[in-house]
Every structure is written in C-alpha cells, then in structure tokens.
Amino acid sequence: MLRRPIKMNLAVALGKVFACALITTLYLLSAQAVSADELPKRVLIITSDDHFVAENMLLARVVSSTVRKGLPEGLQVFYEALDTFRIPTDKYEEELVRLLQRKYSGERIDLIYAFNRSALKFLLNHRGELFSNTPVVFIAYEMKRVSDLSLGANVTGVGGRVELSPTLDIALALQPQTKRVVVVAGKTPADTAFVEQARQEFSPYAGKVEFSYLTGLPIEELRTNLASLPDQSIVFYLWVSAGSAPQTSTNPELISLLAPSSSAPIYGTSQSYLGSGMIGGRLVDFEALGTRAGEMGLRILAGERPENIPPQTIPSATMFDWRELRRWGIDEARLPAGSIVSFKEFSVWELYKWRIIAAISIIVLQALGIVWLLFTRAKRRQAEEAKDKLAAIVETSDDAILSETLEGIIISWNAGAEKIYGYSANEIVGQHVSILAPPELKTEVEGIVERLSRGGSVDHLETQRLSKEGVRIDVSLTISPIRNERGLIMGASTIARDITIRKKAEVEELQHRTELAHLSRVTMLGELSGSLAHELNQPLTAILSNAQAAQRFLAHDDVDLDEVRDILGDIVKQDKRAGEVIHRLRLLLKKSKVEHQLLDLNDVVSEVLKLVRNDLLNQRVTGQMELAPDLPAVVGDRVQLEQVVLNLVMNGCDAIATGPAGDRKLIIRTGLNNGDGICVSVTDQGVGLLPDNLEKVFDPFFSTKPNGMGLGLSVCRTIITAHGGKLWAANNADRGATFYFTIPAQPELRS
C-alpha cells in the first residue's frame, strides 16, 4: 500500500523533467528562427473620434488586413482614439500628448495611420514632441479638406472625393419624375463646407428640380420632415458631424433612424452609409481608400520614403443598397454600368443554385440508381425465375437434353437422357459423347463436334445411338452451339428425342404400303396376262421359227452359212428381247424395296404403254401419247410410278371398252404443272364418273367394276402421296374422265 504513491510521484517527476526539456528545446528552436530584422512590424492607427465610428472600423479592418498580407514577419496594430472631436479642449490635448509620449516612449512604431483630418492635424501639430521620425500615412474622407495642411516630410496619404452632381445625375436618371431634392446636412463648419459644395454643384439643376436644405435640425424634427415629403422627392444626405446632433454619434446611425420613416429615397455620399437605409449614389469608397493606404504603408515599411510617394485621390464608386432599390421599386438593371449592389438578398435559388442543382442531381441520380437497382433486381429475379422454369422444363423433359464442351465432353445430363440412354448423370458426365454412338457412327459424332466448333448446328438429324445396355435407339438430334456473352462458342447443347417407336411405325407403314402396292400390281398383272403372254410370245415365236429354219437349212446339201449366221444373230437378239420382258415382269411382280431414283416420267409412260400395247390392241383401244419434251426429272420409285400409270391406263381402257370401236381412244399426256411439278394425265372418252364418285373412286374397296377389288386407285393415291404429289379425277368438258397426278420436279437435276 505504501509503495504505490512513491511510484506515482516518481512517474510524475520524470514526466515533468521530460516536459521541461521539450519546452526548452522548442523555445530554443523558435528563437533561432526569428532574427532581429524580422520582428513583427508595429503600426499605430490614430483617429480623432472614437473607434466605434463606422468609417474607422471599416478602414482599420481593410488597412490592417492589406498590410498584414504583405508582411510575412507579422504585424502588431496599436489603436489610439483621440476623441478630440468630442473633447476639443487644449488642456485635454496637452495631457493627451503627454500620455502618448509616456505610453510610446521606448516603444518602436514603424508606421502611423491617421484616419481623418483631425487626427492628421493633431500629429502634424505635435510632430516635434510626438512620433517625430515615424512615417505617417493619412486617409481623408475628402482630399480637398486636407489641402490646407502642410504635410512636411515623412507624410503622405490617400483621400476620397465627395461627388455630388454625379449622384444627383444618377438619382434623376433612376427617378426621372423627381421634382424636389431635400438636402440634409449638419451645422458644424465641416458640414457647412459640404452644403456650400452642394449649392455650387446643384446650381445647374435649379430650373429642373427644386432644392431645399435641412441643416442642423434635431433628429426628431428631421425625421418628421422626411416622413412627410411630397411625392416625387428625393433626399440627399450630405454629412452630419457628430457635434451637430447630440443625440447621435455617427452618420450611419442617424440615417438608420431616418430612413425607415422617410417617404423618399435617401441618396448619400459615403460607402459607410450603405446598409443603414441609404439607397446609394456616387460614394466615397472606403474599401479602396483602405486598400490603397495599406499598399502605401507596405511600400514605406519596405523602405521607401513617404515624401517620394505623392498623396493619391481615390475616385468614388457607384454603389447601391439592393434592399432600398427594392423598397423604392427601382430596377437593378437600370443602374449605371459598373454599379456595385450590396446587401442583395439572394433567393434560395440564387444563393444555392449550384448546391440545389447538385442536391437535385444527386437525388435524381440516387433515384435513378434505386430504380436501376430495382429494375436489375426484378430482371435478375425474372431471369432467375425463367432459369428455374427452364431448369424445370429441362429436368422434366422426356427428351434427352445434354450439354457438352467443344471437345465433346458431356457436362450436363437430364432425367430424360437418363431414361433414354440408361446412364445416370454421375456415370456419364465427363465422358466423351462418342460413347453414345454405335461403332459405325463414331465418325458421324466427330463430324458433328467439328461442325459445332465452326458455329454450325444440327437440326433433326435422324440417326442411331447406343443405350448403356448396348441397345440401338433411333433418335432425332438437334444440336446447337452454346455461346458465352462475348459470342464465343463454349460448347453445344443436344436435344435427343427417342423416335424408335415412330421409326418402327414408319417402317411398318412403308412395308404395309409396299405390300398393298404389290398386291394391287399382281392383281393388275393378272388382268394383263394375255397381253404379257403376247409380249413374251413374240420373241419366242421368232426364236423358234429361226431355230427351226436353221435346222432345216443345215439339212440341205448346200448349206448357206451366211443365212445360218444371220439366223443365229436374230435368235440371240430375240432371246434378249424375251429376257427384257421377263425382267420387266419380274420387276413388277417382285415385292421389291422402294427405291428412289431420278426418273423421266416420259420414260415411265412409254414403258407402260409398251407393256399394255397388246391389251389395248385386243380391246381396240388406241393409246395416244402426248409427251412434253425436256421434262425435268422427278425422284421416285420406277416400279410404283409405272404401276400408277398402268392402273390409270387400264382403268381408262375399261371405261371405254363398252363404247363404239372408233371412239376408243386414250390420251396420255405429260407436262409441267405450274412450274413446280410434273403432271401426268390419262384422258378417256368413256361415260365419265358420277360427281359423287370423283373422290370415292380413291377409297379402298370402292369399285365400279364387277370384278374389281377396289384397291387399284386407293393404292395409286397412297403411292403418289408418298412421292409428295397429288392424284385426282375430273370429268371432261365433252365426255369421259381424266385422271391426273403430279409429282414435284427436281429442276436442278435432269434424268
């Protein structure tokens, strides 16, 4: 317990020692920085009245700030208000001199400012006993008023100029209807000098306006007077010295008492009156006086001799009080050029225009920012919702949806993909897509990957893929490149649809159609057997005749070998002919796979007519072909298209079989159909079809023939539809019917 305070005391002591050392060091350092030459300048301001006089305060502020600015070493200002104006006794002045002598003995004063004539006069009067070698700069309200003083050496200064007629000119310009000018002044000799000046300067205006002079009136009386001025008057306030109106001390104070009740605007002479109720005028510019005097003082403090600096007269400045202009309804714009308007009450907008603009801008920007944020948030939310929806769609899709890198590495795998291919996402993500391709289609996958990397896509490619169990699946693939926001291809998305069932149905349908077509063909060929037998019999007849003729020739003694050779040639030829007929028949009879190839429909028609030639003959039917030359090719199955033409030709024959022999004509035409396809028509001159049957004849099992199965035309229509064409019937204008079918042309390909 006892040891603790001791410890503390020790700490305090140590701290104190340290602080002392620090202070000493700082002091030494600062003392070293300030040399003897660079001691602060000492300036004394002397006024003859008290220092609360507005003009003095204004001047003291301007002068000291101007001088201080020019002095890096600093400035000390002393102020002496002599008050000799209010106490003008010799005794006081004597005592005052003595006091100042005593006060400033041993004190260095580098420069004295004398603010007004009385102060300057006091200094000049006591130059020998007081501040005898100190330079003096005076500041006079009116330079003319110091012209009677002999300044002597070491004294210079600045003075204003009281300009009365310019103020009156301005007043009359601003208020042209002015009839009366009331001049207000004091009654001391100084005041009287101004009144004299006024009378002199205003004399040229005597005819235009009426002048009245209120001099030396007590304040109340003066106020009453000014409050009851008639219209079209102005007040011209000159100067009221302190002694003139004992109730007041300074002119501004006096004006501030008069102005509120004045019924006319008050024009004046000094800047110092501004703000107390005076409207303005051509005013002694205290700001400029102080600044110039300050500059002058700096030159002197810098070593220049005052007598080398001539006194300067500072011109007055046109200045106005904005509040008074408003009060008297004078537009600021009508003021003379270069006028200074003080006490302007700026509107909030004028004062804070930029701040308001900035504030509003900030608010607007913030609002925009908030709106933008809300918007982007909404958008992001929308995008997220859309993304969620998309993700849900992808996840619930029956189709396999997967994505892969440009190299073909699988990076996403949906439930549909799992269902179709059997791999789970875990198993397959990271694998190459070619794992899904059957061995012979690996190159197809490579081709697709290569194509995607070039920006290509794959649209509904029907191909096969392998499931995990190795089962082949028919799929339709749609693959598109995935681009990043800069448009670079990052990978690809694949949508695979399982079309196994559809494919199977397609195959079954095709098979069914082929079988039906075959059945119909076989039926038709049965009807044609006589004709076909003839086709085959012709070459067989020729062969047999030739062969037997040859045998006979060879039995002769003198064998004509040339004849035999000729015969053998003919046999070969006829054998081939028979072979062709059989080939043609076999084509029609066999249940062949549908085989699409480029065909000339003119060939198809000619071939069919060759086949039925004998049948037509037997039925006494003339088959007339009108084939358009240079037909574009079509793509189709030759056998099936021949079957259609054959069917139409045979139907045509049947339709006209009952007619008179001479009319049994069948016209088979080919031609372009509106430029987009080829039309084949078979026109008969039979009895035509009932309008109801024009369409019914294409129904399965519909037949107008006693032995017809009713399959022929329905099969024909299936065939033509499968070829992308149309088959229809129409009655002719005269008689009979025409069956038409069209097949799309492949104009770029000629058969």
């Binding site: 003839h534 012709q538 007849t541 005749s545 003959l617």
Partner: protein
C-alpha cells in the same frame, strides 16, 4: 407340197416374227411374201395369186379378223392360218366361222406350221382347180341358146324328149336336135355326165 406356183403370204406387225416365220417357210422350200400390216397386204394382194395367208390375229389398225372379212367381201377364198399369242376362244370361233383353215398358237412349231400351210395350199389348189372346172362349164353353158338352155333344164330333170316337146309346145324331133346340140356344146357324151356337170354348177341360172 412342192407346188411352185403357190405363195405363202405372211402378215405380222412384228418384223422379227415376220422374218423368222418367212425364214422357216422358205427353209421348207416354200415361196414366201411378207407384209407388215393387213392393209399393206390388202393393197398389194392379187386375188388370182395362188397360195395361203399366215395372219397374226392381234395387230394395230385392221386386225386379222377384219382382214378376213375384207378378203371375203372381195371374193377371195384364200385359205387363212391364224396365229395368236393366246388361245382366245371367242376370237378363234369367229375366225373359224369366217373360214379360217387353222388356228395356231405362238410360238408355233415348224411341223405344225408347215403341215397346216401344206394343207392350206392343198385346199387352195383344190379350190382353184374346182373353180377352173366350173368356169369351163360356165363357159360351155354360155354358148347355149336360151332354147337349148330350156331343153338342158328339162333333160337334167330326167324328162323324155316327148314330154319336153309337149312342155315346150314343139315336136319331139326338134327337141332331139336341141338335145344333140346341148350335148355337143357341153362336151358330154351321156345324160349322166350332163347331170353331174349341172350339179357342180348348182343351180343354173
């Protein structure tokens, strides 16, 4: 079969078949003329030419049956052998009714064809011979006077001279003269011969 003056006319629109058939017929030593259409044959055929016709049944334009009709109309009795690709019964019947000699199915065997052709030529020859005799009888008949023709008619009907004279209102003696002249003009020696001649002519008139 070696009849030099007879020709086998072959009509078929298939030139190869035509050529083959012609060759076969020629190999058998027959004279052959070929025509590619019935109308061509009809235009060029001389009715007097001896021979037979081998005709394809199914041809464009005029068909075999029509050619047969046209020939009949022209008074041609040329034997016709029809060739057909199939045994079309109605057509065959029609052809046979029209006087077709035979009806052969393509492809036709040489023996069948040659045998049939030989038969046809034989028939033609017979027909031609027959018709030549009739012409002769006709020519003789033409030389008779109307009175002699009347007498002929009565004679072949088996009447006696007396009956004929009675019927014709003349004397028996006159009838005898007429009768002798008829026998002379008709170049017959007996009434029996005369009767056979008139029977061949059928109805006289």
């Amino acid at each position: 079969m070696n009849n030099i003056s007879s020709t086998v006319f072959v009509v078929d629109d298939d030139p190869d078949v035509l050529k083959g058939l012609a060759r076969l017929l020629r190999s058998a030593g027959l004279e052959v003329a070929t025509f590619s259409s019935p109308s061509e044959f009809l235009e060029q055929h001389d009715l007097r030419a001896a021979g037979c016709l081998v005709l394809d049944l199914a041809m464009p334009g005029l068909n075999g049956l029509e050619l047969q009709e046209a020939l009949t109309a022209k008074g041609s009795a040329i034997p016709i052998i029809f060739l057909t690709g199939r045994g079309d019964i109605p057509m065959s019947v029609q052809a046979m009714k029209g006087g077709a000699l035979d009806f052969l199915t393509k492809p036709v065997n040489d023996e069948d064809l040659l045998k049939t052709v030989a038969g046809a030529l034989e028939k033609d020859r017979f027909q031609r011979q027959n018709s030549a005799e009739l012409d002769e009888i006709h020519e003789r008949l033409e030389t008779l006077t109307p009175r002699e023709r009347e007498v002929l008619t009565h004679v072949v009907s088996g009447q006696l001279n007396k009956q004929i004279a009675n019927d014709l209102g003349t004397v028996e003696k006159t009838i005898k003269v007429h009768r002798a002249r008829v026998m002379e003009k008709m170049k017959v020696n007996s009434v029996a011969e005369l009767v056979r001649l008139t029977e061949r002519l059928g109805k006289i008139g």
